[in-house]
Protein backbone atom coordinates (compact mmCIF):
# COMPACT_ATOMS: atom_id res chain seq x y z
CA UNK A 1 0.00 0.00 0.00
CA UNK A 2 1.17 3.52 -0.75
CA UNK A 3 -0.17 6.76 0.68
CA UNK A 4 0.36 10.15 -0.96
CA UNK A 5 -0.91 13.30 0.71
CA UNK A 6 -1.43 16.77 -0.72
CA UNK A 7 -2.47 19.90 1.11
CA UNK A 8 -5.13 21.73 -0.92
CA UNK A 9 -6.25 24.90 0.86
CA UNK A 10 -8.35 23.86 3.81
CA UNK A 11 -8.21 20.15 3.14
CA UNK A 12 -5.78 17.26 3.33
CA UNK A 13 -6.16 15.03 0.29
CA UNK A 14 -4.80 11.53 0.86
CA UNK A 15 -4.58 9.16 -2.10
CA UNK A 16 -4.42 5.52 -1.04
CA UNK A 17 -3.21 2.76 -3.35
CA UNK A 18 -3.64 -0.90 -2.44
CA UNK A 19 -5.87 -3.18 -0.41
CA UNK A 20 -7.22 -1.93 2.92
CA UNK A 21 -7.06 -4.95 5.20
CA UNK A 22 -5.32 -6.18 8.35
CA UNK A 23 -1.88 -5.73 6.77
CA UNK A 24 -2.35 -2.11 5.75
CA UNK A 25 -4.59 -0.98 8.62
CA UNK A 26 -1.85 -0.05 11.11
CA UNK A 27 0.42 1.92 8.72
CA UNK A 28 -2.58 3.73 7.24
CA UNK A 29 -3.90 4.58 10.71
CA UNK A 30 -0.52 5.93 11.82
CA UNK A 31 -0.06 8.02 8.66
CA UNK A 32 -3.55 9.52 8.87
CA UNK A 33 -3.23 10.28 12.57
CA UNK A 34 0.01 12.13 11.94
CA UNK A 35 -1.64 14.26 9.25
CA UNK A 36 -4.77 14.87 11.32
CA UNK A 37 -2.67 16.01 14.28
CA UNK A 38 -0.28 18.11 12.18
CA UNK A 39 -3.00 19.99 10.28
CA UNK A 40 -5.54 20.51 13.05
CA UNK A 41 -7.77 22.96 11.18
CA UNK A 42 -8.10 21.06 7.94
CA UNK A 43 -10.64 18.56 6.67
CA UNK A 44 -9.62 15.14 5.39
CA UNK A 45 -10.46 13.66 2.00
CA UNK A 46 -9.51 10.04 1.30
CA UNK A 47 -9.13 9.25 -2.38
CA UNK A 48 -9.85 5.51 -2.79
CA UNK A 49 -9.71 5.39 -6.60
CA UNK A 50 -6.81 2.94 -6.43
CA UNK A 51 -8.30 0.76 -3.68
CA UNK A 52 -9.79 -2.48 -5.03
CA UNK A 53 -10.51 -4.14 -1.72
CA UNK A 54 -11.60 -3.20 1.78
CA UNK A 55 -12.70 -5.29 4.74
CA UNK A 56 -13.65 -4.47 8.33
CA UNK A 57 -10.01 -3.80 9.26
CA UNK A 58 -9.89 -1.03 6.65
CA UNK A 59 -13.32 0.25 7.66
CA UNK A 60 -12.14 0.39 11.26
CA UNK A 61 -9.35 2.77 10.25
CA UNK A 62 -11.77 5.08 8.47
CA UNK A 63 -14.33 5.05 11.26
CA UNK A 64 -11.61 5.51 13.87
CA UNK A 65 -10.32 8.60 12.07
CA UNK A 66 -13.88 9.93 11.83
CA UNK A 67 -14.15 9.67 15.60
CA UNK A 68 -10.68 11.12 16.15
CA UNK A 69 -11.48 14.17 14.01
CA UNK A 70 -14.46 14.89 16.28
CA UNK A 71 -16.51 17.01 13.95
CA UNK A 72 -13.94 18.00 11.34
CA UNK A 73 -15.14 16.96 7.88
CA UNK A 74 -14.02 13.61 6.51
CA UNK A 75 -15.08 12.39 3.10
CA UNK A 76 -14.30 9.55 0.68
CA UNK A 77 -13.89 10.05 -3.06
CA UNK A 78 -13.16 7.79 -6.00
CA UNK A 79 -14.93 4.84 -4.38
CA UNK A 80 -15.16 1.76 -6.59
CA UNK A 81 -18.29 -0.43 -6.63
CA UNK A 82 -16.74 -3.37 -4.73
CA UNK A 83 -15.54 -1.02 -1.99
CA UNK A 84 -18.82 0.85 -1.92
CA UNK A 85 -20.77 -2.36 -1.35
CA UNK A 86 -18.78 -2.95 1.83
CA UNK A 87 -19.16 0.68 2.95
CA UNK A 88 -22.91 0.49 2.44
CA UNK A 89 -23.25 -2.77 4.35
CA UNK A 90 -21.38 -1.21 7.27
CA UNK A 91 -23.53 1.94 7.19
CA UNK A 92 -20.55 4.20 6.46
CA UNK A 93 -22.34 5.84 3.53
CA UNK A 94 -24.96 7.23 5.91
CA UNK A 95 -22.45 9.03 8.13
CA UNK A 96 -19.77 10.12 5.65
CA UNK A 97 -19.96 11.83 2.24
CA UNK A 98 -18.97 9.20 -0.33
CA UNK A 99 -18.32 9.97 -4.01
CA UNK A 100 -18.08 7.19 -6.56
CA UNK A 101 -15.12 6.58 -8.82
CA UNK A 102 -15.35 8.42 -12.11
CA UNK A 103 -15.61 6.01 -15.03
CA UNK A 104 -12.97 6.58 -17.68
CA UNK A 105 -14.40 8.06 -20.89
CA UNK A 106 -15.25 5.56 -23.61
CA UNK A 107 -12.67 5.75 -26.39
CA UNK A 108 -13.94 6.81 -29.76
CA UNK A 109 -13.55 3.71 -31.93
CA UNK A 110 -13.29 5.85 -35.05
CA UNK A 111 -10.17 7.61 -33.82
Amino acid sequence: MTIVHTIQGSRILVAVNGDLDLTSAAPLRDALDELIDRYREKSLVLDLADVDFIDSSGLGVILGRFRRMSGRPLSLVGVRPAVKAVLELAGITSILPVADAVRPPVKDQRA
Partner: protein
Protein backbone atom coordinates in the same frame (compact mmCIF):
# COMPACT_ATOMS: atom_id res chain seq x y z
CA UNK B 1 -16.45 -28.54 -11.61
CA UNK B 2 -14.98 -30.14 -8.49
CA UNK B 3 -11.70 -29.18 -6.93
CA UNK B 4 -10.12 -28.75 -3.51
CA UNK B 5 -7.26 -26.65 -2.19
CA UNK B 6 -5.65 -26.39 1.22
CA UNK B 7 -3.43 -23.67 2.61
CA UNK B 8 -1.58 -23.71 5.93
CA UNK B 9 0.22 -20.57 7.00
CA UNK B 10 1.46 -18.67 10.02
CA UNK B 11 -0.77 -16.12 11.70
CA UNK B 12 0.90 -13.07 10.20
CA UNK B 13 -1.28 -10.28 8.76
CA UNK B 14 0.35 -10.52 5.32
CA UNK B 15 -1.21 -13.96 4.91
CA UNK B 16 -4.74 -12.51 4.94
CA UNK B 17 -4.16 -11.37 1.36
CA UNK B 18 -2.58 -14.71 0.45
CA UNK B 19 -5.67 -16.59 1.61
CA UNK B 20 -8.02 -14.12 -0.09
CA UNK B 21 -6.28 -14.30 -3.46
CA UNK B 22 -5.93 -18.10 -3.35
CA UNK B 23 -9.62 -18.64 -2.64
CA UNK B 24 -10.54 -16.08 -5.31
CA UNK B 25 -8.47 -18.02 -7.84
CA UNK B 26 -10.24 -21.23 -6.86
CA UNK B 27 -13.67 -19.58 -7.04
CA UNK B 28 -12.71 -18.27 -10.47
CA UNK B 29 -12.80 -21.85 -11.73
CA UNK B 30 -16.57 -21.95 -11.11
CA UNK B 31 -19.35 -19.83 -12.60
CA UNK B 32 -19.14 -17.03 -10.07
CA UNK B 33 -19.45 -13.44 -11.25
CA UNK B 34 -16.71 -10.93 -10.45
CA UNK B 35 -19.07 -9.38 -7.92
CA UNK B 36 -19.58 -12.79 -6.28
CA UNK B 37 -15.81 -13.27 -6.03
CA UNK B 38 -15.35 -9.81 -4.53
CA UNK B 39 -17.82 -10.75 -1.79
CA UNK B 40 -16.20 -14.14 -1.19
CA UNK B 41 -12.86 -12.35 -0.78
CA UNK B 42 -14.31 -10.12 1.94
CA UNK B 43 -15.68 -13.14 3.82
CA UNK B 44 -12.33 -14.97 3.66
CA UNK B 45 -10.48 -11.85 4.72
CA UNK B 46 -12.73 -11.50 7.76
CA UNK B 47 -12.41 -15.13 8.81
CA UNK B 48 -8.62 -15.17 8.52
CA UNK B 49 -8.29 -11.78 10.21
CA UNK B 50 -10.39 -13.07 13.10
CA UNK B 51 -8.12 -16.12 13.41
CA UNK B 52 -5.03 -13.90 13.62
CA UNK B 53 -6.41 -11.10 15.78
CA UNK B 54 -8.64 -13.05 18.13
CA UNK B 55 -7.57 -16.68 17.80
CA UNK B 56 -3.90 -15.92 18.31
CA UNK B 57 -4.29 -12.44 19.86
CA UNK B 58 -1.93 -10.98 17.28
CA UNK B 59 0.87 -13.48 17.92
CA UNK B 60 2.45 -14.53 14.63
CA UNK B 61 3.49 -18.07 15.51
CA UNK B 62 0.14 -19.84 15.25
CA UNK B 63 -1.08 -21.89 12.32
CA UNK B 64 -4.13 -21.05 10.25
CA UNK B 65 -5.61 -23.57 7.82
CA UNK B 66 -7.82 -22.62 4.91
CA UNK B 67 -9.59 -25.22 2.79
CA UNK B 68 -11.63 -24.41 -0.30
CA UNK B 69 -13.82 -27.02 -1.97
CA UNK B 70 -15.60 -26.49 -5.26
CA UNK B 71 -18.54 -28.65 -6.23
CA UNK B 72 -21.28 -28.18 -8.82
CA UNK B 73 -23.32 -26.09 -6.36
CA UNK B 74 -20.64 -23.60 -5.35
CA UNK B 75 -17.76 -23.27 -2.93
CA UNK B 76 -17.28 -24.29 0.69
CA UNK B 77 -14.53 -22.55 2.65
CA UNK B 78 -13.21 -23.65 6.01
CA UNK B 79 -10.93 -21.39 8.07
CA UNK B 80 -9.50 -22.99 11.20
CA UNK B 81 -7.16 -21.82 13.92
CA UNK B 82 -5.83 -23.56 17.00
CA UNK B 83 -5.79 -20.56 19.27
CA UNK B 84 -7.69 -19.38 22.32
CA UNK B 85 -11.20 -20.11 21.02
CA UNK B 86 -14.39 -18.10 21.48
CA UNK B 87 -16.11 -18.25 24.85
CA UNK B 88 -19.53 -17.04 23.61
CA UNK B 89 -20.06 -17.56 19.87
CA UNK B 90 -23.51 -15.94 19.81
CA UNK B 91 -22.14 -12.78 21.42
CA UNK B 92 -19.17 -12.72 19.06
CA UNK B 93 -21.52 -12.89 16.07
CA UNK B 94 -23.46 -9.81 17.17
CA UNK B 95 -22.87 -6.62 15.12
CA UNK B 96 -20.53 -4.12 16.80
CA UNK B 97 -19.17 -6.71 19.19
CA UNK B 98 -15.41 -6.32 19.30
CA UNK B 99 -12.72 -6.46 21.92
CA UNK B 100 -10.71 -3.86 19.95
CA UNK B 101 -11.97 -0.23 19.84
CA UNK B 102 -10.35 0.27 16.41
CA UNK B 103 -12.40 -2.55 14.94
CA UNK B 104 -16.05 -2.40 14.02
CA UNK B 105 -17.12 -5.86 15.11
CA UNK B 106 -18.47 -6.55 11.65
CA UNK B 107 -16.41 -9.60 10.74
CA UNK B 108 -19.14 -12.17 11.25
CA UNK B 109 -21.75 -9.77 9.84
CA UNK B 110 -19.81 -9.58 6.57
CA UNK B 111 -19.35 -13.35 6.49
CA UNK B 112 -23.09 -13.88 7.01
CA UNK B 113 -24.08 -11.20 4.51
CA UNK B 114 -21.74 -12.19 1.71
CA UNK B 115 -22.03 -15.96 2.03
CA UNK B 116 -25.02 -18.30 1.89
CA UNK B 117 -24.24 -20.28 5.00
CA UNK B 118 -22.03 -19.84 8.05
CA UNK B 119 -21.22 -22.32 10.79
CA UNK B 120 -18.90 -21.49 13.67
CA UNK B 121 -17.53 -24.08 16.08
CA UNK B 122 -15.13 -23.18 18.84
CA UNK B 123 -13.63 -24.68 21.96
CA UNK B 124 -11.93 -22.42 24.49
CA UNK B 125 -8.24 -23.21 24.56
CA UNK B 126 -8.38 -25.34 21.43
CA UNK B 127 -9.39 -23.11 18.55
CA UNK B 128 -12.11 -22.06 16.15
CA UNK B 129 -13.46 -23.52 12.92
CA UNK B 130 -15.48 -21.34 10.55
CA UNK B 131 -17.23 -23.02 7.64
CA UNK B 132 -19.06 -20.99 5.02
CA UNK B 133 -20.71 -21.69 1.68
CA UNK B 134 -21.45 -19.62 -1.37
CA UNK B 135 -23.71 -21.05 -4.04
CA UNK B 136 -23.38 -20.33 -7.72
CA UNK B 137 -26.30 -18.26 -8.94
CA UNK B 138 -27.39 -18.96 -12.48
CA UNK B 139 -29.09 -16.06 -14.22
CA UNK B 140 -30.74 -16.05 -17.60
CA UNK B 141 -34.00 -16.37 -19.43
CA UNK B 142 -35.79 -19.65 -19.79
CA UNK B 143 -35.92 -20.95 -23.30
CA UNK B 144 -39.29 -21.12 -25.06
CA UNK B 145 -39.42 -24.89 -24.53
CA UNK B 146 -38.79 -24.61 -20.82
CA UNK B 147 -41.42 -21.93 -20.11
Amino acid sequence: MTNTMQLRFLSVPENVGLARVSIAALAGQASFSLNDIDEIKVAVSEAVSNAIIHGYRGQNDGWVEVTGTLDPHGITIVVEDFGVGIRDIEQARQPSYSTDPERMGLGFVFMESFMHGLNVQSTVGKGTRVEMQRFVTIQGELSRDAQ
